[in-house]
């Protein structure tokens, strides 16, 4: 009986020690994951800043005009057409806005 009680006590001690060790192990694992999370968040923020910098309107305009040879649309080259979807006579139907780019000016100039 005494041996049994001793073994049970020993088991309890082992369980307690194992639990403490495992808590510390999981703690380190959590910390590693936290560090990884911080690294990924940092990388995300860096990419977000980079994306915002690269998509700045003045940069896009510069690339479009200087590298791609584009020019800002002149008056008459962009036409905005408000149209309702066909077959939907309801006045509640949301008008569709279409922007049409033309490379030809109305007076025939290019």
């Amino acid at each position: 009986m005494k041996i049994l009680a001793g073994a049970a006590g020993l088991c309890l001690v082992f369980v307690f020690v194992w639990e403490r060790v495992d808590i510390v192990r999981v703690g380190y694992q959590v910390e590693r994951l936290k560090v990884e999370k911080v690294r990924l968040e940092r990388e995300r923020d860096q990419l977000r800043v980079k994306f915002s910098t690269l998509s700045a309107p003045d940069r896009i305009a510069k690339v479009a005009t200087e590298r791609l040879g584009m020019t800002p649309p002149q008056n008459g080259q962009v036409i905005v057409v408000q149209a309702r979807p066909t077959g939907v006579p309801s006045p509640q139907a949301v008008p569709v806005q279409v922007r049409v780019a033309s490379n030809q000016l109305f007076d025939g100039r290019r």
């Binding site: 940092r42 800043v49 003045d58």
Partner: protein, 549 residues
């Protein structure tokens, strides 16, 4: 056994405190500063963690060698680094908030006596775009100018002191480590009413005009008349908030809000609204132009054109000073003052940006015998650009004065809206009928008057030119060579989508508002209406376009 009792019982409290000191670390943490985005969620300002480098001089064997290896990476002079590293101190900052690229290069350097900590650095990815509105945050992350300052309490992350559990190697250990609940909350995100594309168009055209006219500076504001929401606000010259060290303080000031100027003839738009609302004038009321010269209170008022009998509408369209002075006299001091106040002059618009001034509007008892005539043509009154565009927006908005605003929404870190700003009506200043009549007169300014160069093909434009002489600080009188050229207006006149003011300060050469500022209005207006997808009023033109495309 005795030792056990001593340690566990007698010295328990004292030893527990000692142990805690060894494996606990108290740290002060701060949540990341909130981002600022435009109305389409485009990032205008955000925080990023970047490395800061410190030295521990007492732990260094060769400060000179360390300084030499660090200098090219930190971009700090070797002798300066060496001087810092030779100090008899346990901690010294060597370089703070480096670029991410510098941070990567740091990984290859010796670590002895050198430490790296991550700190939040404010980035403005669009560079100088919207700089006068955004302002900037300082080295310690506190908002110093602009929106960064005005919304400091919202943007700033939570500050919290917390205790971390650490092991023998100094690593943080669960369970007393930092939990999600303990982490300081990041600051809130601001959503602006600004549209970065419109802002870009405005800054580009303003800069071109300032360069072209060799002007001292320029300002332009675009707002939505129906709500008072700011779409763009530009001041030229600009500055880059990413390069604080190169900034001159005078360049930071948002002069569109802080500096009052004499508006000159743009004030005649307000005068017209007051005269028609009070039924003092009708568009066709005849006024004699005195052939371009009229004496008022021992002074002489001149017109740039010798006019005889002209209608009230023509007085505004041709920008006659004499006609405006006569209309002012018909209105009288009290009524003119009342309308100027009603339109918001002499008081702050209460826009949510710091540093706004109320301009200068004297009360009638302080007026001289000339003041009534002067104010009618925009002299002896100081207004800020934001006041003027807000006042003219009231005409565009059917007579209702809106409060201008720039932050439309505040969100917490999870994206929940904590505050939504709705358009705020300040008051009705004129009736819808008066607003329509004044709009017709102001359309005449563009079709038949001084503002022809503001006309936008395919759209009805209403507006008023202004050419104000500046006060010469040496003589205290009006300068013959220094002018403020301006144009304020809105389009499309029949359903205004934008109201805009353009001010060019001290242009060289031709200085008329119609020649200097009106073309800028035209170029900005054309591009912005196109960008906003506002339909042209010319149906024939659209039919032609459809058949070709």
């Amino acid at each position: 056994m005795f030792r056990l009792v001593t340690l566990q019982v007698l010295q328990a409290a004292e030893l527990t405190i000692k142990a805690d000191r060894q494996h606990q670390k108290t740290v002060s943490l701060e949540g990341a500063r909130g981002a600022i985005v435009d109305r389409h969620e485009k990032v205008l300002a955000m925080n990023m963690e970047v490395p800061s480098v410190f030295g521990v001089p007492t732990a260094l064997e060769s400060p000179a060698q360390t300084a030499r290896s660090l200098s090219p990476v930190l971009r700090v002079r070797t002798d300066e680094l060496e001087r810092k590293l030779r100090q008899d101190r346990g901690f010294v900052w060597l370089a703070r908030k480096l670029d991410p690229e510098q941070g990567r290069r740091l990984e290859h350097l010796p670590k002895e006596g050198i430490g790296v900590v991550m700190e939040g650095r404010r980035f403005y990815p669009k560079g100088p775009l919207l700089s006068h509105v955004l302002g900037f945050a300082g080295m310690d992350g506190e908002g110093l100018e602009g929106i960064e300052r005005r919304y400091e309490s919202d943007l700033r992350g939570e500050r919290r002191v917390t205790i971390l559990q650490r092991d023998a190697l100094g690593r943080t250990v669960f369970p007393k480590g930092l939990t999600a609940e303990q982490s300081p909350a990041p600051g809130h995100q601001l959503v602006l009413t600004i549209d970065e594309v419109i802002q870009y168009i405005v800054e580009k055209e303003l800069e071109a005009a300032v360069t072209r006219t060799h002007a001292k500076s320029g300002m332009a504001i675009v707002l939505e008349p129906s709500s008072g929401a700011l779409l763009a606000l530009a001041v030229n010259p600009r500055f880059d908030p990413n390069s604080l060290s190169t900034l001159e303080p005078s360049r930071w000031r948002n002069r569109a809000l802080t500096d009052a100027y004499e508006p000159g003839s743009t004030m005649k738009a307000i005068l017209a609204a007051a005269a028609i609302e009070e039924r003092v004038m009708k568009p066709n009321t005849l006024i004699y132009g005195e052939q371009g010269r009229m004496a008022v209170a021992n002074t002489v008022i001149h017109d740039h054109e010798k006019l005889g009998w002209v209608s009230f509408a023509q007085v505004i369209q041709k920008s006659s000073n004499i006609g405006a002075a006569k209309v002012g006299m018909e209105l009288g001091e009290q009524r003119l003052h009342r309308y100027l106040q009603a339109f918001g002059f002499g008081q702050r618009t209460e826009i949510d940006l710091p540093g706004e001034t109320g301009g200068l509007l004297k009360v009638p008892r302080e007026w001289s015998r000339r003041t009534l005539a002067s104010m009618s043509m925009g002299q002896e009154i100081g207004v800020t650009p934001i006041q003027m565009v807000a006042a003219v927006s009231a005409i565009a908005n059917g007579g209702v004065l809106m409060k201008p605003y720039i932050v439309s929404e505040i969100r917490d870190a999870q994206g929940n809206v904590t505050k939504q700003v709705l358009p705020h009506v300040k008051r009705r200043v004129i009736s819808p009928e008066t607003a329509r009549t004044v709009t017709q007169i102001l359309e005449g300014v563009v079709t038949d008057g001084t503002g022809g160069k503001a006309a936008i093909e395919g759209f009805r434009v209403a507006g008023k030119t202004g050419t104000a002489q500046k006060i010469d600080p040496r003589t205290g009188t009006y300068s013959a060579s220094q002018f403020v050229s301006s144009f304020v207006g809105y389009a499309p006149a029949d359903n205004p989508k934008l109201a805009m003011i353009v001010i060019i300060d001290e242009p060289h050469g031709e200085a008329w508002g119609g020649a200097v500022a009106a073309p800028v209005f035209n170029r900005i207006g054309e591009q912005v209406l196109n960008y906003l997808g506002v339909s042209s009023h010319e149906p024939v033109r659209l039919a032609m376009a459809s058949s070709r495309s």
